[in-house]
Each structure stands twice: as structure tokens, then as C-alpha cells.
């Protein structure tokens, strides 16, 4: 019988790891708490910087894991360490025996309503990046006006913000904002699109080109200054205030739609799983890897591996690469033990 690995979380990290483990001749079991695979990516419409459909990636990953056992809408109730592995008890009563556990619990999207001054859930035309992706994907959204004259994007909502309890940079929001700004400009060429940023962190391949294109080809306005507060004027338009830090002056503008780039925060499940497998949690709430340079995918405990955003904010390519690395690490661990 093949050795089994329990993968907690069926997002792209879990799926990619499962696909690799299958190829390596092991038997992965994915336990996913929601009713679908693909995690956050499955809710996204298009991905930067190629604007490729997110669904293609998810479909590919799901099809490449068809040989794995998959539990949907299932949570882990308990994990016990055995002599040569672990047993995981599921909330449906099943017990899984495995040689290694791969934690792929991912992240949680910051609750934008916590930044009260932006008025998410209070003003009619304030939405989040996820809401906008849903709308791009075809979901109706009454908050998005038919013909907006001006659209704004607020970077770093809940990221790099000690008041929101998150000091980390979410890595993907700058690019997501630029991507969504471009997509909005394509849908509404007449609209003025503003991006309010603190820093632009565009580190990956093709990212800077994407930014240049947003500036030059789409005429998107980048304003260096964090939005301080949002209010509604008498016409129901949003009055947004920020400092134009480059000119050192306060700045205001009326918008028809404001998109909050909610950042990545650690998922509440991660802490629960961490306590089950006795893995350490970092002070940012994400899981602590053995080290942050060479052994990101390894925990301090034998047979417990991490992949993806459970250890910190990640892009999709990073997540996929880590999933492969984690699969290989788990494989070597199992083979060396045998």
C-alpha cells in the first residue's frame, strides 16, 4: 500500500502538492473545509500580469489531482502523533492515517469593514478587490454604477497597518490594484482611475512593465498618499481625502466607486491546525517555518510540512513553487524514514 500524506487545505498549494505527490508515487488526501477546490484563486477572475483566467489554473490543478482522495466541506477535528506518522480525525468521523501532514491552510482576506474610515458596508459604492473580481466574473453587484466617471483604488487596506493588527505587506495588492485598474479602464475608458498607494511594490517579472503600461497606455493616475477618510456627498458620490505626499498638500476627489485592496491576513484555521500539530505560530499570526531562507516549507516538527500562504503572504507562482518543494520534502522524509 502506498504511503499517505494528509494535505490540509484544497487551495492551489494543496492541489499542486497533491499533484506532485501523486507523481512521486504517494497517496495524498486533501481535506478542504469549503465546498470547492482552488481556494481564493477560484474566486478570482483574471490573474496578473498575463491577465490569464484564474479558472484555467484551478481547472488544470483539479484535473491533475483526480487520483487523490478529496474531502470537501470537511474539517480536521484532531491530529494525533503515532509512532511512524500521524492520524487525523475528521469531523465526519473518518480517521486518516498518514506518514506526513502538509499544512496548506492559506490566508484570509482582511475584513475591509474593520477600516471604518473607508466605510465598507456603510457607503453604497465602496467594494473590495474580491467583490470586483466577482463582478468581473459575471456576478451582479448593485454597488458598481453603470457609468462611473471616477474610480479609486486604495492600496494596503489592512496591510502594513499596525492599527489593523497587520504589519506585513500583502505582496499582491499593488499588482492586483494595477490589474483591476486596467480592467476598469478597459470597461470604462472615459472614467478617471486613481490608485492611492503608500509604496508601489512591484518586484516580479513583468510587474514593472505592467505598471508602465497602466501609466502610459491607460492613463491611470497614481497618487502617493494613503486615503485618510471617505464620506458621501449630497449626490451620494464618495468624497475621498488623502495627502498628495508628493506635493505635500491635502487632496480630495469625488469618486463613483472605491475599491479597497484588502490584504492577506493569517487564516483563523491556521492557528487551530498549528495547535493540533504543535507547530509554532509567528508573531504575525502566520506559521513559523524552520527558517525563512532555506527551509520555508519545513516546520520544526518531523513530518509536518507547510506550503503557500499559511507561512506568510505569497504570490501564486511562489505558492506553486513552495507546494512542489513541500511535496518533494515530504517525499524525501518518507523515503528516508523507510
Amino acid at each position: 500500500m502506498k504511503e499517505s500524506v494528509v494535505i490540509i487545505g484544497g487551495g492551489i498549494a494543496g492541489l499542486e502538492a497533491a499533484s506532485q505527490l501523486l507523481a512521486l508515487g504517494l497517496s495524498p488526501v486533501i481535506v478542504e473545509k469549503s465546498d470547492h477546490l482552488g481556494g481564493h484563486v477560484a474566486e478570482w477572475y483574471r490573474l496578473f500580469p498575463d491577465l490569464s483566467p484564474a479558472q484555467d489554473l484551478v481547472t488544470h490543478l483539479v484535473s491533475s489531482t483526480s487520483g487523490a482522495r478529496i474531502y470537501l466541506e470537511t474539517e480536521i477535528s484532531r491530529i494525533n502523533a503515532l509512532k511512524d506518522g500521524y492520524s487525523a480525525t475528521l469531523n465526519n468521523g473518518d480517521v486518516l492515517f498518514c506518514k506526513a501532514v502538509l499544512v496548506c491552510t492559506g490566508f484570509h482576506l482582511f475584513d475591509a469593514a474593520k477600516k471604518e474610515e473607508y466605510g465598507y458596508g456603510i457607503y453604497n459604492s465602496v467594494i473590495t478587490n474580491r467583490d470586483l473580481e466577482h463582478w468581473f466574473g459575471g456576478l451582479e453587484d448593485a454597488r458598481i454604477p453603470d457609468n462611473p466617471r471616477a474610480v479609486g483604488f486604495v492600496h494596503c487596506v489592512g496591510s502594513r497597518d499596525v492599527k489593523a493588527g497587520n504589519t506585513q505587506c500583502s505582496k499582491v495588492c499593488c499588482m492586483t490594484a494595477i490589474k483591476q485598474a486596467i480592467e476598469m479602464k478597459e470597461k470604462f475608458p472615459e472614467a478617471e482611475v486613481y490608485c492611492f498607494y503608500m509604496d508601489l511594490r512591484l518586484f516580479g517579472k513583468k510587474y514593472e512593465d505592467f505598471y508602465i503600461s497602466a501609466q502610459r497606455d491607460y492613463g491611470i493616475h497614481f497618487i502617493r498618499g494613503r486615503v485618510s477618510e471617505v464620506s458621501e456627498d449630497i449626490d451620494g458620490r464618495l468624497l475621498v481625502k488623502a495627502e498628495d505626499t508628493l506635493s505635500g498638500k491635502p487632496l480630495k476627489v469625488r469618486l463613483d466607486l472605491l475599491v479597497l485592496m484588502a490584504g492577506m491576513v493569517c487564516s483563523p484555521q491556521t492557528g487551530r491546525i498549528a495547535s493540533m500539530v504543535r507547530a509554532e505560530v509567528d508573531d504575525d499570526g502566520f506559521l513559523r517555518s524552520r527558517d525563512n531562507i532555506y527551509s520555508i516549507v519545513e516546520s520544526g516538527r518531523k513530518g509536518i510540512f507547510f506550503a503557500g500562504a499559511c507561512t506568510g503572504t505569497k504570490t501564486i507562482p511562489e505558492t506553486v513553487a513552495e507546494a512542489r518543494a513541500a511535496a518533494l520534502s515530504a517525499f524525501r522524509y518518507i523515503k528516508e524514514k523507510a
Binding site: 486613481y194 508602465i212 501609466q215 502610459r216 492613463g219 506635493s247 498638500k249 487632496l251 480630495k252
Partner: protein, 108 residues
Amino acid sequence: MDFGFSLSPSSAIDLDKVDLSLYRRLEQTVPDIRSCIACGSCSATCMAADYSGMSVRKLILNLQRGADVKKMLSCCMLCGKCTMVCPRGINTRKLILDVCRYYSDNKL
């Protein structure tokens, strides 16, 4: 009545009210100005900066905010150093000449 104090004008920029006609015109003739990243290389190298506050970075920003740019242009010598150092390859000399050219009389 003189109270010994008075309302101070707002320094805030209201993007809905700024006059962007000059900027829009320049977007046509020097499209690269959109890609300024405000790095400040131009200002740092400028020969006229000491005398008139010349800064192409501020010039572009002020144009985008509909603010006055005439004063800073007063000492530009068109030497081209700003063009040479711009990391985004903006043709700053053309920008300066076009601003000088298009600056509408009602703004003088």
C-alpha cells in the same frame, strides 16, 4: 469689519475642480509624462534648480494638479541634463518647450 485675522485659503487640491487643460494637451504631445515615477533625478541634476525651484518632477505633478508652473520655468536653460538622467526616458526638454508654448495667457 477687521477682526485682525481672516479666512486662510484652502491649500487642499480638489481634483474635481483643477484645470487640467494644459496637462491634457501635453499628454498628447509628450505622452511619456504619464509614466513619471517622481524619482526626482531630474530635479537633483538640474542646473536651474537653485535659482527658480525648477524641478521637472514638480512640473509634471503641478500640471497634473492644475497648479502654476510658470515660476519654476523662469531659469530653465534647456541644457538637457534632466532628459539624460530620466529613468523612464521622458523627453523632458520637449515637455518644457511645449509647456512654455502652450501656457495659456489667462494663467499668466
